[in-house]
């Protein structure tokens, strides 16, 4: 039952991703950008231009290019079906390798930020829900409205000014390790895990220190919508019939609140997952402020350099991860809330 559900979702997801990739493929080629002149320079000779165009494969018909990218033309070498995302036009490195280096940083950033944001937001949201319209609720309402509509890159810079320049508590916003530290040998790609595996607690501490400000910036932005959502779901759960029944039955207040929390968590988990998928592409600006070198910064670099294979790779990876997160969440949702059935 569950296995069949998962299988069907993955099948549908694959079709979605494939159509998205094809759509993006045509979209970026339809736009009037000229990557060739970006690479050879504006004043190059016609021969140099034609040569570069041939090297990038842009002289061939669009459908041949697509076939090459997808890997359905055996004579052209591996493509998407063989698990290759092509090579970056800027660096000449396979896109998969580059994304493999950038993605763990973004995932670490997001995971830390979500963990901290949840630790703060869930109790605060519950507190606000206990007395709707009370002082705590009004304060929380104003905060979530404010934090949910802020330029995160500016707050990041502000934090840098205060905590790096004025107070000196944070390291300079230049990546996840200071330039003098040698990175731990890569095993998982996640630099926190790798420093643990290598048995270097000082490196781990340094990485966490570098993550401090970007995570704080993201928590500030994220906690607004999360608090709002926890509050709403909690108010709804507290107003539902089963809570009324539990109260009438004379159960202690703490136990009633626990029941309500479980019912409130289920829809929250789904929304948090959607937010996670959204932030994969939304962390761009924070990564750029702190030069973290994650997926978002890779996206900026690729877009500004007209690096088509890299752009396609970024979109593909972000959508694929979002879909997987949604699937995982729907499964978790069914575990938390027994009323949900696999449809």
């Amino acid at each position: 039952m569950v296995a069949r559900y998962i299988f069907r979702r993955i099948l549908v997801g694959t079709v979605q991703i494939l159509s998205l990739v094809i759509a993006v493929f045509f979209l970026i080629r339809l736009l009037p950008a000229d990557p060739v002149s970006r690479f050879v320079g504006l004043n190059s000779s016609a021969e140099a231009y034609a040569q570069a165009e041939r090297n990038l494969g842009l002289d061939r018909p669009l459908l041949t290019q697509l076939g090459h990218y997808l890997g359905v033309l055996p004579s052209e070498g591996p493509g998407l079906l063989q698990g290759s995302l092509g090579t970056s036009w800027v660096t000449g490195t396979p896109v998969l390798t580059e994304i493999g280096q950038a993605l763990p940083i973004t995932i670490e950033l997001l995971t830390f930020a979500f963990a901290v944001a949840l630790l703060i937001s869930v109790p605060v949201g519950m507190l606000a829900a206990l007395r709707p319209g009370g002082a705590a609720d009004r304060g929380v309402f104003a905060y979530s409205l404010f934090a949910g509509s802020q330029p995160e890159f500016w707050w990041g810079l502000l934090f840098v000014y205060v905590f790096f320049f004025v107070l000196g508590w944070a390291p300079a916003p230049l990546g996840v390790l200071s330039p003098l530290t040698s990175p731990p040998p890569p095993v998982t790609g996640f630099i926190t895990l790798d420093s643990l595996i290598a048995g270097r607690p000082d490196t781990l501490f340094e990485v966490l220190h570098h993550y401090m400000l970007p995570v704080a910036t993201m928590v500030f932005i994220l906690s607004g919508p999360i608090i709002k959502m926890v509050r709403q779901n909690m108010v709804r759960a507290l107003g539902s019939d089963f809570v009324l029944y539990a109260r009438c039955a004379g159960l202690p207040k703490g136990q009633v609140a626990r029941y309500a929390l479980r019912a409130a968590m289920a829809p929250s988990v789904t929304l948090i997952g959607i937010l996670y998928g959204f932030m994969l592409g939304g962390a761009v600006l924070i990564e750029s402020v702190f030069s973290l070198g994650g997926l978002g910064q890779y996206a900026i670099r690729s877009v500004l350099a007209f690096d088509y294979p890299a752009i396609q790779g970024v979109i593909l990876v972000i959508t694929a991860i979002s879909l997987l997160v949604y699937l995982a969440l729907d499964l978790i949702h069914a575990v938390i809330d027994p009323r949900v059935a696999y449809g």
Binding site: Q16, S19, L20, A23, L27, I28, L31, P32, A33, L130, R131, P132, G133, R138, F141, A142, L145, F146, G148, S149, Q150, P151, F153, W154, W155, L157, L158, V160, Y161, F164, F165, A172, P173, V235, L238, G239, L244, R247, F278, L280, G281, G282, V284, L285, S288, V289, G296, A299, I300, V303, L304, F306, I311, V314, I315, I318, T319, S322
Partner: protein, 299 residues
Amino acid sequence: MSLPADLQRAEAPPARRIDWLFWIGVSIVSVVVFLALFAPYVVPYDPTLAAHRPSMPPPALSDWPGLWWGRLTGAIEAPPHWFGTDANGFDLFSRVISAPRVDLTIALVANALSLFLGVLLGLVAGYFRNLLTEGMMRVSDVLQSFPVFISAMILVALAGRSTTNIVIALALLYTPIYIRLTRAEVMTQRVRGYVEAARALGNRESVIALRHVLPNSLAPALIQSSVTIGFAILLTAGLSFVGAGVRPPAPEWGLMISTGANQIILGEWWPSVFPGIAISLTVFGFAVLGNALERRYES
């Protein structure tokens, strides 16, 4: 049946809170609109002229009343640089108050385009349910699942960094929201009695949809507009911040923050801080206004 008091209060939020937040939103938005219209007539310096000593800090807050008085009485001839100057020698105050003309125009036009397109398509998709409109909804779903910021970056960078292209990109990305909102509302309206009555009178379906269902289905989309305008300003600023938005030296808040970003780790806070406060307040103003309108509509 009587519920515990706190549960009843959860259904109806207190009215007072709505009102003062609403007025904060209205005042912020009015100031921004005023600046968008009249900033060229009130700026002390040309916002695109780099003619001043670079990286001058703003005057200390305690000097402001004196400077102000001096300006009023004519004792000080040149207007002071209230917000200092940036590394290129632009007067920051002039740039900050000139930016609404760029930012707000982009946001308003993009929102108007996507509102028009989204409401029209949403009306068609909600009123005439067939294979074609269902297919359109799937396309709209795919568009909505794109990572917004990266898509905007791709569209603007590859189409060319111009104001027009930013507007088109934002309009495209925000249209699906309006399609979805309007379609949902139209679907609840089309089964109402007045639609049946209009049909019984012999009106054509297209007339019923446009003349009767459309005006009754506009509210959710119009309320969303305020929020969308705010987010469009954020997105415009973000695009300029990473170098995929408007071109310098246009006075634009995100661009100004990005110019100041290199100086802030050296302690020059003012080139980034002042435009940031402006964005922060503006977007908050639109968010508050949208929220207040939404509550008003629901009650």
